[in-house]
């Protein structure tokens, strides 16, 4: 049996801020951000459904903007800040989007859920009071085969209300 490359292939190296944590990672240079997150950093919460930028399952936030991690080479992300589903909650608490999705049936099989949650977070960060049509538009690149989307829209709207409550002075 011939010997294999593996570790010796890890010739690329980047420094990123992953969910708020300084992270230094080495990897084979052909790998996408999706692959490095899942395979080299053990962050398997980010999913994949096509590896071609078609389904939206692999969406993460790159410097706060939603990107498809299957379409980015990891080395393009050097110095960037990346948020994945593992970093959405804080201090042991779910993000309002996560609570709303859990409570309102917005996650069925759950496979598209991480990508949709991050896309929705980017939307609410930019526009704290989106209309139903703006929510539809923002999520139109994330496919869900289970829910028919309606409970997802409702969950985003419920989270929107929750976040607004938190932001009220004195809350």
């Amino acid at each position: 049996m011939a010997t294999a490359p593996a570790e010796s292939q890890k010739t690329a190296r980047i420094k990123i801020t992953l969910n708020g944590e300084e992270t230094d990672v080495s990897f084979a240079p052909y790998k996408t951000l999706l692959e490095v997150l899942r395979e080299d950093l053990g962050h398997t919460g980010t999913k994949h459904g096509c590896e071609l930028g078609e389904c939206g399952a692999c969406a993460v936030l790159l410097d706060g903007k939603p990107v498809l991690s299957c379409l980015l080479l990891a080395w393009e992300c050097d110095g960037c800040s990346i948020t994945t589903i593992e970093g959405l909650g804080s201090n042991g608490r779910l993000h309002p989007l996560q609570s709303a999705f859990a409570n309102l049936g917005a996650a069925q099989c759950g496979y598209c859920t991480p990508g949709i949650l991050l896309t929705a977070k980017a939307l609410l960060d930019e526009n704290p009071h989106p209309s139903r049509d703006q929510i539809r538009e923002a999520l139109s690149g994330n496919l869900c085969r289970c829910t028919g989307y309606l409970q997802i829209f409702e969950a985003v709207e419920a989270a929107m209300v929750q976040i607004a409550e938190w932001k009220k002075p004195g809350a």
């Binding site: 490359p5 996650a107 496979y111």
Partner: protein
């Protein structure tokens, strides 16, 4: 015999329930696995990474039909990083989901039957290395004539795609006669003959299939896989690997969507199992999206002819249905699918005489199989459109027609299906009301329309896939002295919420919350068998098993607590994590204390429950497909706008009522209805699994027209209409707390309702799916030219049908057996089972 001209009020079945004390059932709740899903902690098969894990890739046939002359894998094996190359001779034993269709090999030995059929597997240290090595395998093929559709299959008996089946390239023919339909047509005032075509489409789960296998430390096999049917995979692995099932552990990881597409045992699962055993290291495979399209097992394309006789008042006097089914290259569930194309026509409207003929052909395309609604979706499309045509001709409102002919509760149908509760009339009434149907139908301006359609679906297949006398579902319950409850069950979580169903039932019976319960499902080592997540069977079957186990545990706790508190057993109640005297609620113990008392009295507290469906009266050959403990019903109204120039269709709103018996968790039930409507809308308007031939100079292969998510159009968030859901709750005595299915039935009425709405909007019939703008424009052109204003098939080809099995319906004195059937003895049947 029920009289279909009457409209008796829906019978309300009284269930012995103290509804006032339900604290979990019927309350919209966060599902038990929701936290894992919203935090990304659910571990799907591809999320498993193990030390020393190797990666597998499959070499797939580029030809739709060929003999393998020679495979040389020496160059691949010499490629650095390659551990193993497997070919057909390493896994020669045939398998398949249905005992009579054991026609697949994990790697084709000498015959490939569709583009994508696997011929070799490479296992390497890196996935990329395995991919590189695929190019180094040299395969010589002898190209064979291909068959692209069922009509071609009928005309092309040679070369045969399989050397079994009826004859030539016909896999299965069915001819069943329940009463004399000609007499029915003679009694009819009007006879309708219509042709329909239902294009195939695929499940498109967002999770691509993945599996990881290991030789465990004891030397046995463990496989984690995205499968809906761990028990059937378990059986297939034991057969092909020639191992004792006792030495194989199958763990169905939560599926990232199934919809029927992960219900067959798959070649890639068997290959990684074999490789892990040979290499003694973990082996993983993850399919690409293109491979998932070629795995398929999705909706069969079906051509249909419906001939139906009716009286002036709408009463059906007889129905003759013929279906021609494109099976693709393998049997898969096809025998069952074939029967399903005619099984449920009698379950929603009273059909006194019914003749059903079906023919499934092999073609050189990826195998079709079960997709949500399995085989019943296509004929439902035809039946509900034909009813719309009948209503128009008889000058009846389509809703009124259906109310008149709806089947009665607890009826036995012409084909010996025993119905349970039938909420169909209530569904129709509700959907008519909430959609303002009476103000809209035939009253909206040109270009806008509404359509109505109904459906029925199984709540679990009444018979197992392989003949056996054992339960369909088992549950074990463990209560520990910490007050903890653990459920062990083979049921598989595919997103539908089966774990939540089990937890809710046990929590309700034992008076705790679902958060107090741990659940281990989908693991053949840990839990008793559940046949799998298919045929909408889990809520009723695993649910009843859970109910029985919980009631047995409750009985033990009741006895122990009753003795301690000196309270008669019948006065004890379980609620709010306490066991207490209903006459003096402050007198009681905590649930935790109750378990300790029971353990002190009886020893370790564990119970089991199991469920076996009632025996069906359908005892004729083929009568095993269709029976179910009870059936769900749905009625939907779809509103459309159609641009009369471009044919562009928009669906602004859908109203649907679903007879669910009882919603165990209304939040999830609504999600199942909306998800079904969504998937049905995709099938109605855009989804199609279509194939094309490459040019002759490029091998002339039959390839998938669009094996990518971008090109295989499915509805996005922008395409979804508003949906108004009504749950009709009329508890059915067969279901746990009265529950019936909800995961599949609500899909069925959507496609015909869209078609009927298009007709209401612009006056043309599109008698096939998907209903595209192009087809509407063509139908409008026909209308303008003064020809029949429709788009769709115009004939049904000649099929050499076998002699029909004659089964007199119940009202003609039939006993569920065919009068002309030569029956196998039970010893012959057992022998057959042992052989498969």
């Amino acid at each position: 015999m029920p009289n279909p001209t009457e409209s008796p009020a829906v019978e309300v079945v009284e269930l012995q329930l103290e509804t006032d004390r339900l604290r979990v059932i019927g309350v919209p709740r966060r599902r038990v696995d929701a936290r894992a899903k919203v935090t990304g902690q659910t571990r799907y098969a591809d999320d498993i990474f193990l030390p020393r894990m190797a990666y597998c890739k499959l070499l797939r046939s580029p030809h739709p039909h060929a003999r393998i002359q020679k495979i040389d894998s020496s160059r691949a094996l010499a490629h650095p990083g390659v551990y193993l190359v497997l070919t057909g001779k390493d896994l020669p034993i045939e398998y398949g989901i249905i005992p009579v269709s054991q026609d697949e090999q994990a790697l084709c030995l000498d015959h490939v039957r569709h583009v994508g059929d696997p011929v070799a597997a490479v296992v390497a240290r890196e996935e990329l290395t395995a991919l590189e090595a695929l190019d180094l395998i040299d395969v010589e093929y002898e190209i064979l004539t291909t068959v692209s559709d069922p009509e071609e299959a009928l005309a092309t008996p040679e070369p045969r795609i399989h050397d079994y089946g009826e004859e030539g390239n016909i896999h299965k023919r069915v001819n069943l006669e329940f009463g004399n339909v000609d007499e029915g047509f003679a009694e009819a005032d009007e006879i309708f003959e219509d042709f329909f075509f239902y294009q195939g489409n695929t499940h498109l789960p967002i999770e691509q299939h993945a599996s990881v296998a290991i030789k465990d430390p004891e030397g046995k096999l463990t496989i984690w896989s995205s499968t809906q049917t761990p028990h059937y995979l378990h059986r297939a692995l034991a057969k092909v690997l020639e191992m004792s099932p006792a030495h194989i552990r199958v763990i169905a990881t939560p599926n990232g969507g199934g919809f029927g597409g992960k219900s067959d045992p798959f070649n890639h699962e068997i290959v990684v199992a074999k490789a892990a055993l040979m290499l003694d290291r973990p082996v993983k495979i993850g399919l690409t999206r293109e491979e998932v399209f070629y795995c398929h097992r999705g909706r069969h394309p079906v051509l249909m002819r419906f001939k139906t006789g009716v009286k002036k008042d709408g009463t059906i006097t007889g129905m003759h249905l013929q279906t021609l089914i494109d099976g693709g290259a393998y049997g898969s569930y096809g025998v069952a699918s074939t029967f399903y194309t005619g099984a449920l026509q009698t379950t929603s409207y009273h059909v006194p005489r019914y003749h059903f003929q079906a023919c499934r052909a092999f073609t050189n395309k990826p195998p079709c199989g079960p997709k949500r609604g399995h085989g019943t979706v296509q004929p439902r499309f035809g039946q509900e459109i034909q009813l719309d045509k009948i209503a128009e001709k008889l000058k009846l409102d389509p809703a009124e027609l259906r109310l008149r002919i709806a089947e009665a509760p607890n009826a036995v149908t012409a084909n010996f299906l025993e119905l349970g509760t039938v909420g169909l009339r209530e569904c129709i009434r509700r959907v008519v009301k909430i959609s303002s149907w009476n103000e809209k139908f035939r009253k909206l301006p040109e270009g806008r329309g509404v359509g109505l359609a109904c459906s029925a679906y199984l709540t679990g297949a009444g018979l197992p896939i392989y003949w056996n006398a054992m339960p369909h579902s088992g549950v074990q319950l463990k209560l520990d002295r910490g007050g903890g409850i653990t459920i062990f069950c083979g049921a598989t979580e595919i997103g539908q919420g089966s774990d939540d169903v089990l937890a809710a039932i046990v929590a309700e019976v034992l008076g705790v919350t679902t958060f107090d319960i741990r659940i281990y499902t989908g693991d053949t080592d840990l839990g008793p068998v559940d046949l799998g997540s298919y045929s909408s069977r889990v809520t009723l079957m695993a649910g009843n098993a859970a109910m029985q186990a919980a009631e047995r545990a409750k009985a033990m706790l009741t006895e122990a607590v009753g003795a301690r508190l000196d309270v008669p057993k019948e006065r004890l109640r379980f609620a709010d994590q306490r066991v207490f005297d209903s006459a003096a609620p402050e007198k009681g113990v905590t649930f935790h204390e109750a378990v300790c008392l029971a353990e002190a009295r009886f020893g370790t507290v564990g119970t089991v429950g199991s469920y076996t469906p009632p025996r069906s009266p359908a005892q004729f050959k083929g009568g095993g497909v269709g029976p179910s403990p009870t059936y769900s019903y749905s009625a939907a109204v779809v509103e459309v706008t159609v641009n009369p120039v471009t044919g562009w269709i928009n669906v602004p709103k859908i109203w649907i009522a679903h007879d669910i018996g009882r919603a165990l968790n209304p939040a999830l039930a609504r999600g199942q209805v909306e998800g079904s409507v969504y998937m049905g809308l995709g099938e109605a308007l855009m989804e199609e699994q279509e194939f094309r031939r490459l040019p002759k100079r490029l091998s002339h292969a039959l390839v998938h027209k669009f094996p990518s998510i971008l090109e295989y159009k499915s509805p996005t968030s922008l395409d979804m209409p508003e949906i108004v859901v009504e749950l009709v709750e009329e508890p059915d005595p067969h279901g746990p707390f009265g529950a019936k299915e909800v995961g599949q039935g609500p899909l069925l009425p959507i496609m015909p309702a869209v078609a009927n709405a298009v007709y209401d909007a612009v006056g043309v019939r599109v008698d096939e799916v998907p209903i595209t703008p192009e087809k509407i424009v063509k139908a409008l052109a026909e209308k303008k030219a003064g020809r029949a204003p429709r788009f769709g098939p115009t004939y049904f080809p000649d099929v050499d049908w076998p002699e029909p099995l004659r089964v007199p319906p119940p009202w003609e004195g039939g006993d569920g057996r065919a009068v002309n059937e030569v029956r196998r003895s039970s010893s012959q049947r057992k022998e057959k089972v042992l052989r498969t």
